[in-house]
């Protein structure tokens, strides 16, 4: 038996990375306390068994259809799985509590901010946030002016991205307040861990994530227009070709609601109906996974073939609730991001619980000068993009690229912000090509819900892994993978 090589051999060449915080190993190379159980479990696994499990995990993702299409010249849409790493990321109960409180605080303040800027605009009048910044934002939605959605909630579903810096603290990297995706991976990663590592999971005290769809449905029902006795909620998807279609169908199934495409809905007399085989059926709440631009050709882009004409007006008439409300993108604008600590102080009279990454706003002269002079040390992002697109990483750029990018910056200062390159923490990850465990950078997408008198944070989240060595961009569209994320239960519950 002793001759069978086991997993410890895979840790033999594990590099110690001084520049970053390693979630699994401390500075002396010892396994951190909350990872000890899992480390021991893995160390005892024979190497061949581990590789079998790894293959099994891949097959399991494939069968479940957790795939996305990659289009290339040679083939029209090859299906790839979103790589899933068997070694889970673990967050202690105490750390989680702090994070959770911070997220709730942030969402509360951002909802109040949205109510304010679309109505009284007090925060602008008090000059806490410059009004030019808001009105120049392309995601500021005129159709929402002078209107409060039911319960004053604009952002029902938010997906805030946090990272852990080398100082050990969590920092908010960005807020995602439009149609954040990824929660289906949280649920399917957990399902995979339970299937593949049942004993390990059984012996660990992990907070469940499985109740997320239920909580989401509760939130949607809580904001249905008053008077709807048995509210009909639907999930609106652009269709099967959307890259997040797996998630849309998965959530609809888990919530037991209809998955509808735009052509399945129509508006009559300011009420929204779906076209069923036995005639029209009134819809009360639409969890829409279509961006603002495409949701209603009468209000937004008139060339959109995706939208439901008249749905925004029906929303303003109070006959249907859209979750999230249109126009929330103004609050996850990366330039507005820099004001979130002030926004929290302004509305809640509290100190922010979560840190922001220091941000230089190119439209401010001092900051702009700093960005130009320190471009090499900074990450520069467009304020209104998502998915990791358009991000410029200074320390990876050539001299020519730096010079070129400076010109781009000068041409549209409002569009860019700069941030110091954050030292994203690393996590032990199995790298198939190397057949080794190696440290890889990770972040965490959290999922929080806000309904009428409901505040909920999913007890876990999507830990995204940049699989390429040294890479700091973790998006799935940029070659990232993911990990199951365990939030441990409080110690006293264990015994």
């Amino acid at each position: 038996m002793n001759n069978v090589p086991n997993l410890t051999t895979l840790f033999d060449n594990y590099p110690q990375n001084r520049g970053f915080l390693d979630e699994v190993f401390d500075q002396d190379g010892n396994v951190r306390r909350h990872y000890q159980g899992i480390y021991e479990h893995f160390s005892r696994l024979p190497l061949s068994d581990f590789r079998d499990l790894y293959d099994y995990a891949k097959k399991s993702s494939f069968d479940q259809g957790i795939t996305f299409n990659v289009y290339s010249d040679s083939s029209q849409g090859v299906e790839r799985i979103f790589p899933f790493d068997l070694l889970p990321r673990i967050i202690s109960a105490q750390e989680w509590k702090a994070l959770e409180n911070g997220l709730i605080q942030r969402n509360r303040a951002l909802n109040m901010f949205l109510t304010d800027i679309y109505n009284e605009k007090k925060i602008l009048k008090d000059q806490v946030v410059p009004k030019e910044l808001i009105f120049s934002c392309k995601n500021y939605c005129k159709a929402m002016m002078g209107f409060k959605p039911y319960g004053g909630i604009y952002v029902h579903i938010s997906g805030t991205d946090v990272i852990r810096h080398k100082d050990g603290d969590f920092y908010v990297l960005e807020d995602n307040l439009r149609c954040p995706s990824g929660v289906s991976y949280v649920l399917s990663n957990r399902m995979a861990t339970k299937r593949i590592l049942p004993k390990l999971f059984f012996n660990s005290q992990v907070q469940p994530v499985v109740n997320y769809p239920e909580a989401l449905l509760d939130v949607l029902k809580s904001v249905s227009p008053p008077g709807a006795d048995q509210p009909v909620c639907v999930l609106l998807t652009p269709g099967v070709f959307n890259s997040a279609y797996y998630e849309h169908s998965f959530l609809a199934l888990q919530m037991g609601v209809q998955l509808v495409e735009p052509q399945d809905l129509y508006v009559d007399n300011n009420f929204v109906y779906m076209k069923t085989m036995h005639g029209p059926k009134k819809v009360d709440v639409v969890y829409r996974r279509i961006d603002d631009d495409f949701i209603d050709p009468l209000v937004f882009r008139s060339d959109s073939v995706l939208g439901v004409p008249g749905i925004v007006h029906a929303f303003r008439e109070g006959n249907v609730t859209l979750a999230n409300a249109p126009g929330t993108g103004v609050a996850d604008d990366k330039a507005v991001y820099t004001y979130v600590p002030d926004i929290i102080r302004y509305y809640l009279s509290e100190e922010p619980l979560l840190k922001n990454v220091h941000t230089y706003r190119c439209e401010k002269d001092d900051d702009f000068q700093y960005v130009l002079e320190h471009l090499q040390e900074l990450v520069v992002k467009p304020v209104d993009e998502s998915g990791g697109y358009g991000v410029f990483i200074g320390n990876r750029a050539s001299r020519q690229e730096l010079a070129d990018f400076k010109e781009v910056l000068k041409s549209n200062r409002r569009k860019y912000i700069g941030q110091p390159t954050m030292a994203l923490s690393v996590h032990t990850t199995y790298i198939e090509d190397e057949q080794q465990f190696e440290p890889r950078h990770i972040d965490l997408r959290t999922f929080a819900l806000t309904g009428h008198e409901i505040e909920y944070v999913c007890q876990g989240g999507l830990t995204r892994v940049a699989l390429r060595r040294g890479n700091l961009v973790v998006n799935s569209s940029q070659g990232g993978g993911s990990k199951d994320t365990w939030v441990l239960q409080e110690e006293e519950n264990i015994n």
Partner: protein
């Protein structure tokens, strides 16, 4: 339920059934070619197979040589031919994908697995092993899929829509293979006709319908004749592939879909009811009398049922 979803569920049923039937007769016809009486041409087997799959014109257009390898590849795994089994499996999956939130995860996973495993069959493998392996794979997987549908779905509209598609498709496929076989027999020159040839044709037909062994059991081993085959494949109420069996099931499922609405004379419920009642009270001699018209008329009527379903329920 959404009209669009209803349409996808119905086509899930039709494609699942079509794949199973295609696999069944590709395999049966191919294997039967080794039992062929010496006086018959093997070419006939391949032509007959193409006609059953309604693929003769498309095959000719491609100007491929009429060899067993080409015909089998064309009907099973050809990527360009839109009606190959491989592409039907893709259609099946697309339809299932579009209704993922209305069906169980098990049904989706069974379909998805079927899709991925089907795509892994290569031309080389097919030419080395022959079509049996591939066809068996398709038959097994459609059986698994039907089992999962039966074991996990609620007996409501979803289930009835899938079965509406399956029963309609099965009845139509049955008519199609009967028509082709009757033509094959007609095409045997007078001087070559003998009991061995007839026996070969009727046995192949029963095997293509997936009912050879059960018909032997039912008729106590009587050699198949035209009367026996008509009785079994058209009028038998116990054989799940007979035309009458499928019409009766179709009538029940469409009744469920109609949600108890009274059937007006221009409705699809009325049409199916009339068709079923008419077939129920037919006899084998009556069918034989209407030699050339019975099957084509029925085929035509079932096409009309399909369009009527679409008009009434799948378009809004």
């Amino acid at each position: 339920m959404l009209s669009r979803t209803a349409n996808n569920l119905y086509w899930m049923g039709r494609y699942a059934e079509r794949i199973g039937q295609l696999a069944q007769y590709v395999s049966a016809q191919y294997l039967s070619s080794s039992d062929i009486p010496p006086s018959l041409n093997k070419r006939m087997v391949l032509e007959s197979l193409l006609r059953m799959a309604q693929a003769s014109d498309n095959f000719q257009e491609r100007q491929l040589p009429l060899t067993d390898h080409e015909v089998i590849t064309f009907l099973t795994i050809d990527e360009q031919y839109p009606y190959s089994i491989r592409n039907y499996v893709e259609q099946l999956r697309d339809n299932t994908k579009a209704v993922r939130s209305s069906i169980s995860l098990d049904v989706w996973e069974a379909t998805n697995r079927f899709y991925h495993t089907t795509r892994s069959f290569s031309t080389d493998e097919l030419s080395k092993k022959g079509p049996y392996d591939f066809c068996k794979h398709c038959l097994d997987n459609t059986s698994i899929l039907k089992g999962v549908i039966d074991n996990t779905l609620l007996r409501n509209y979803e289930w009835s829509l899938i079965y509406t598609g399956m029963h309609l498709e099965r009845a139509m496929q049955m008519i199609q293979i009967l028509l082709v076989k009757l033509e094959d027999i007609k095409n045997v020159p007078n001087e070559k006709r003998n009991p061995a040839i007839n026996n070969y044709h009727w046995s192949t037909l029963l095997r293509s319908a997936g009912g050879l062994d059960m018909s032997r059991n039912y008729y106590y081993g009587t050699r198949p004749t035209r009367e026996l085959v008509t009785d079994f494949l058209v009028l038998n109420r116990k054989f799940p592939k007979s035309i009458l069996y499928n019409l009766e099931k179709l009538r029940n499922h469409v009744k469920i879909i109609s949600n108890g609405k009274p059937a007006s004379p221009d409705s699809v419920e009325f049409k199916i009811g009339k068709l079923t009642a008419h077939t129920q009270y037919l006899t084998v001699p009556e069918i034989m009398e209407q030699d050339d018209t019975f099957l084509p008329t029925l085929h035509h009527e079932l096409y009309a049922v399909g369009s009527e379903l679409e008009r009434q329920y799948f378009t809004f």
